[in-house]
Amino acid sequence: MSAASDTALASVGVSDDPVIAAPADVCLLVEGTYPFVSGGVSSWVHDVICGHPELTFAVLYVGSYPGAHGEARFKLPPNVVGLHRVFCQDAALAPLDGAGRASLREQIHALRVAMDARPSKSRVLAGLERMHVEGEAGTDVLAALACNDLTLPELMHGRSSFQLLTTIAERVAPDAPFLDLFWHYRAIFAPVLRLLAAPTVVARCYHAVATGYAGLLAALWSYRTGRPLMVTEHGIYARERDMELARADWIRDEAGGVSEPRSTWAPRVSPLRRLWSSFFKALSRIAYVQARHIITLSDVNRNKQIADGAPPEKIEIVPNGVALHGSLPEKRDREDVVAPPARRLRVGFVGRVVPIKDLVTFVRACDIALGVVDVEARVIGPSDEDPSYAARCRQLVGRLGRTSHIQFVGPMPPAQIYGDLDLVVLTSFSEGQPLVILEAYAWGVPVVATDVGACREMIEGRGEDDRHIGPSGFVTRVAAPKETAAAIIKLARDVRLRWRMGAAGHARVTAFYQRGDMLARYRALYRSLIETTAAEAAERP
């Protein structure tokens, strides 16, 4: 049974077969985003591809299982020569009947006989053992994984695989119920084997737009082909997965004293949760080790990457950028300040209506602010990604009796959004470096944002020169509607402050966050990687 047969891989685009396809200049590896999901990262990927028309791109989409994503949300630019998809899981299989089970037993028996006849242990298994038991995630582990000498059935039913499971049970998760560990072991390693077996998409360089599974695949292909790798992380993958794991109801933590009426107890972290967390951290470290350049968006993220094992000398900060349309729009002119228009403040929430954006806090803040000042709030962005959350937010607006003041207007092109807004509010739980803030700055609109990701340095300034420009809005705590409302009220009452902050934002984006600067930096990076490939090819006999 070949490893490749277990991999669900489908290709769409110019070439259907990644092995024989003409090699692209850059293979962009994305996980769960472009081109099937709209959002900040997808927009950024699209922008980067469009911004380099002289380069050809192959896009590899890593998804969860076939059919999980919908239609493409972006029209692929002409310089995309191939779109390939790799899935971590197969579609659900029908349960086996009696004959099927008997046949499976025979297959497992034959498999074990064949495995027992093997002279040496699988290198992939050895690599997985070093990754999980020894905590290693260096080039040696990558080299072992790149061998791809373990099939999915061998992982599921092989004796040596079961031996690794028992080793993990004894040395890593001695407190975990063995049966739980058994299933978690399969859930962790089966996607890895599918990715290892994916046919290599050949390119002159690889660019992973996250670590995780996409980063692992990029590191593997980079190792196998000898082509250089660059990793760009918008949000820190391992941290984001940790946040998801913390809320995962399929892993239970035990804590002494839960049933006791005391405020003191010693938490005991579930060994299974720790296993998953260390797995995702190891994936990140593998990508960091193999990458020539690690790009991040802000100082905050850089520090997190270093803490997660990224070599500091490889990290470079390349902030996002937006296109400027000239000087500050005329309507933001000082004349406007001297004679402010007699109308309500127009506040915008620009983004997807999903829980991570915490639209509930925005609605509550507007409700509080509406008790003091006249505000017209608009929620601008798609609400089809999480319909139940969108319905909940609409219901909240209705229950608060604010339907005439808070409106859901759906997605709009940026040119139509910011010209009609006085203030942009961002209440997200998690952000990298939000494009929304930069777009608002480009239009001279001040911003109120939560203290997540790079928001603080985008509003208050990063370096000395940046801080000298002055604040371009207010930073609030997460889930603090009163603080957000206070900022809205302050900016609604003080038109001069609003103008001053808007002008500071415009000056900031002009100085530090221009799209041209960002693309120029990536162009230089791509050129350097491609030249490295060419030089190494020329050196070969």
Binding site: S263, A266, V269
Partner: protein, 401 residues
């Protein structure tokens, strides 16, 4: 030390007797049981006599052999103690020690010690409440290894922090919610984000359960009524209404409900309690739930009224609960946040716009016997100027302006 007269009689190996003769487990047996029988005196006299004879020989004869004879008699004085069946082994050891250490005086001293001691050493150990000792040790251990939750949230590792937060979410009581809200203001932004996500999760869970309860209630109210096989629709509807009302009450009580929605949710819960009250078998649950709701919604006077209405018909089991809640409501009615005029404003709106919901007793007391003013009029209560219903948000402090 146990009373020597009461131990080891009637073959009780543990020194625990059962006067009633019932087969009582060791853990439930009384620690000290009276034994009416008198202890034997002859052995003690024999012990003393042996020592006295030896002493007489040594003093009277003053030969070398008398020393050995006196020593032999002194050792022989231990024999009656060894054969005293009324003594436990530890009591025998104690008595023998006295007799051996203090010739002649040893026997009376031993009798005194055994008569007036508190108990047998061995039986004390066996009867000691071991669970209590373990609990104390556990407490010390917990104090030694565990930090208070607040400290652990701020000073613990990321994994510990997330484990605590996950535990708090599962716990879901008022303390847990308060701790999570405290964590929102932490200086560590990651902790604040984790806490915010946890609170969001709890709110989403509450919303989902409330939606399910509403659907169940609607289904119960609109269900088929002409099918004889089905129970009468009033009972399921009452149960569904009680479930919905209790869910809302719990959410308000622990602080999961959105503060801006508390008045609307409380109104919905009141309607549900009214519907649930149609089933007389649920009267006690309705009374308690409604009281909790009014206390959570800062209307202790209404809570008092609910309790006073329920007390005359309350059963003996539920009466202490109601009385306890009444104490709480009484205290709360004197601790209203008068400095926050929003409460007053809401009282006014509800009081004079809905005849079914009278103003709270406290407000009534403070307002005296004033006739209900028209909706647009404002009133002054102490330093607070309460405007009419049309502009209840513009409450102002008179003293400040």
């Amino acid at each position: 030390m146990s009373d020597p007269r009461t131990s080891q009689q009637e073959g009780d190996p543990e020194g625990v007797s059962n006067p009633a003769g019932a087969d009582v487990p060791a853990g439930e047996a009384p620690v000290v049981a009276p034994r009416p029988t008198r202890p034997p005196v002859a052995p003690w006299i024999a012990v003393s006599m042996a020592d006295l004879v030896g002493l007489g020989l040594v003093v009277g004869v003053q030969e070398m052999w008398t020393l050995f004879a006196a020593a032999g008699l002194h050792l022989a004085a231990l024999l009656p103690i060894a054969f005293m069946r009324s003594l436990s082994s530890s009591e025998k050891a104690l008595a023998a020690s006295f007799v051996f250490a203090f010739p002649v005086l040893g026997a009376p001293l031993a009798v005194l010690a055994l008569e007036h001691g508190n108990g047998d050493l061995a039986s004390d150990l066996t009867q000691a409440p071991t669970a209590l000792a373990d609990a104390v040790a556990t407490d010390f251990g917990r104090l030694a290894v565990a930090l208070p939750s607040c400290e652990a949230l701020t000073a613990g590792t990321v994994e510990e922090r997330r484990a605590i937060i996950a535990t708090l979410v599962r716990r879901g009581d008022a303390d847990a919610v308060a701790l999570l809200r405290w964590a929102l203001g932490a200086s560590d932004p990651d902790l604040a984000v984790d806490a915010a996500l946890a609170l969001e999760e709890m709110t989403v869970s509450f919303d989902a359960r409330l939606a399910a309860c509403r659907e169940a209630l609607a289904a119960a109210q609109d269900g088929p009524r002409d099918t004889a096989a089905l129970p009468p629709p009033t009972l399921p509807a009452a149960e569904a209404a009680l479930a919905a009302a209790e869910l809302i009450t719990h959410a308000i009580d622990v602080g999961v409900a959105d503060p801006a929605l508390v008045p609307a949710l409380a109104g919905e819960a009141r309607d549900d309690y009214a519907l649930a009250g149609a089933d007389s078998t649920q009267a006690d649950a309705v009374a308690i739930g409604r009281t909790h709701l009014e206390l959570g919604a800062l209307r202790p006077d209404t809570a008092l009224a609910c309790i006073d209405a329920a007390l005359p018909t309350a059963g003996p089991e539920i009466r202490p609960v109601l009385l306890s809640l009444r104490e709480e409501a009484l205290l709360a009615s004197h601790a209203l946040p008068w400095e926050g005029p929003s409460a007053l404003a809401s009282y006014q709106v509800r009081a004079w716009s809905h005849a079914r919901r009278p103003p709270p007793l406290t407000a009534r007391r403070r307002l005296g016997n004033l006739p209900p003013p028209p909706l647009s009029a404002s009133i002054r209560v102490g330093p607070v100027q309460v405007p009419g219903a049309a502009a209840t948000r513009k409450v102002r402090h008179v003293g400040r302006e």
